[in-house]
Assembly symmetry: C2
Homo-oligomer: 234 residues x 2
């Protein structure tokens, strides 16, 4: 039958599209991917869909897909609900490969993603460069890749969106101040003036940004309309 990857968008269960709702209601098994971002509550989804929703952690989706999602999609239609767009910030490409190997048809139902919703800041989405991520540091693991990516984008005057690491199942979400501190630390080490502590970054490092998930945008070269729109937030 068919494997549906259905985006949940960015908010609660009302972010689901009518097409996504219809697909999920018609499937014989519905899973909720719980490890790449914050999801609507499983109970609210069950009420909306009128059926059981099975939580799917990383192990289920990545290691045990054959005996769960893909087995369900062999015998009936199976739906995996994914926060945001099902292929954007998190690309479930490996799952698509496995489904394809098993000749299971795939249908993607797209939805809103942080990668385009950033436009709400007033920064023009087509002026963003490559998207980065900032992983939780660990002893012996403090990668410089976010700094390299920022420098590359800055060469083009492009804005940079950083997705901040999260482990929803452990209740761990990197807040913006931590991300700023990580970038400031990389700046100290590299000293290439990509992320300077002057003014904004220093002040922001003390703010409270509300509930997670968080992301951090480092603006590139600003068009005057972008500057005007950003001023909405001051």
């Amino acid at each position: 039958m068919t494997l549906y990857l259905v985006g949940l968008g960015l908010g609660d269960e009302k972010g689901l599209t009518l097409a996504g709702l219809a697909a999920a209601r018609a499937c014989s098994a519905v899973y909720l991917e719980t490890y790449t971002s914050v999801t609507p509550s499983r109970q609210a989804l069950e009420t909306l869909l009128g059926r059981a929703v099975i939580p799917a952690n990383r192990k289920l989706v990545e290691q045990d897909a054959e005996s769960t999602l893909l087995a369900a999609a062999k015998s009936g239609d199976c739906c995996l609900l994914v926060p945001g767009d099902p292929l954007a910030a998190t690309t479930h490409i490996d799952l698509l490969h496995r489904a394809r190997e098993l000749r299971i048809p795939i249908r993607i139902i797209h939805n809103a993603s942080i990668m385009t919703a950033v436009a709400e800041t007033g920064l023009q989405p087509y002026k963003f460069g490559k998207t980065g991520s900032i992983p939780f540091p660990a002893p012996g693991y403090e990668p410089e890749t976010p700094y390299d990516l920022l420098k590359e984008n800055q060469k083009l005057g492009a804005h940079t969106l950083f997705l901040l690491d999260l482990k929803p199942e452990e209740g761990r979400y990197m807040p913006i101040p931590d991300a700023i501190r990580i970038l400031l630390k990389l700046e100290l080490r590299r000293n290439e003036k990509a992320f300077t502590p002057a003014g904004p970054a220093k002040a922001l490092a003390k703010e409270n940004f509300g509930p997670p998930p968080h992301c951090l945008i480092v603006p590139g070269k600003l068009h005057f309309i972008e500057e005007e729109t950003l001023a909405f937030w001051q």
Copy 2:
């Protein structure tokens, strides 16, 4: 009251989210933005919403907003339905500025956009650089900006998404072969090896890509998983 900008996503009226549907049903005036991309049929939307949907062309949204959308949002809630995400490929930022000047609250209901749905190709969305557009050429108007943008992205190994020009109200949509010919012409003029006619581009220029709207992606440096996923399409 409130001005709602509600995304329609990428398909028919079933691309609307439950939140978007509820907002549009509760507004006293509902407009459909008809000039930036293909929209679901107005009749289908009227059936779904159970109310009149007023077509909104560029003149209405850009010049006459004060006497239409914003007047409606002064006296009641007003909704503008926008194809894709309401702020992504087309940024209705000017409208937000005007609403703000009139102290009209704004609510954005995001939805799927071509800017993230490109992930369906197998190319990783976070490896895209700045987004470009290819305008219809006109006598004396053959801008080199798409070529410049492509070169910049290529320096980073980033993929490039080109949105192809369209004038839905005139039934004009740039097809992929025309976009390829425009880029090949720019390559001939500039000769900087950003877009070469070897193999793929030449073959694609003869394909039929189905109904519009179209976009064109020029891949940058490919990760092997991207190569494997792209092979799905061969």
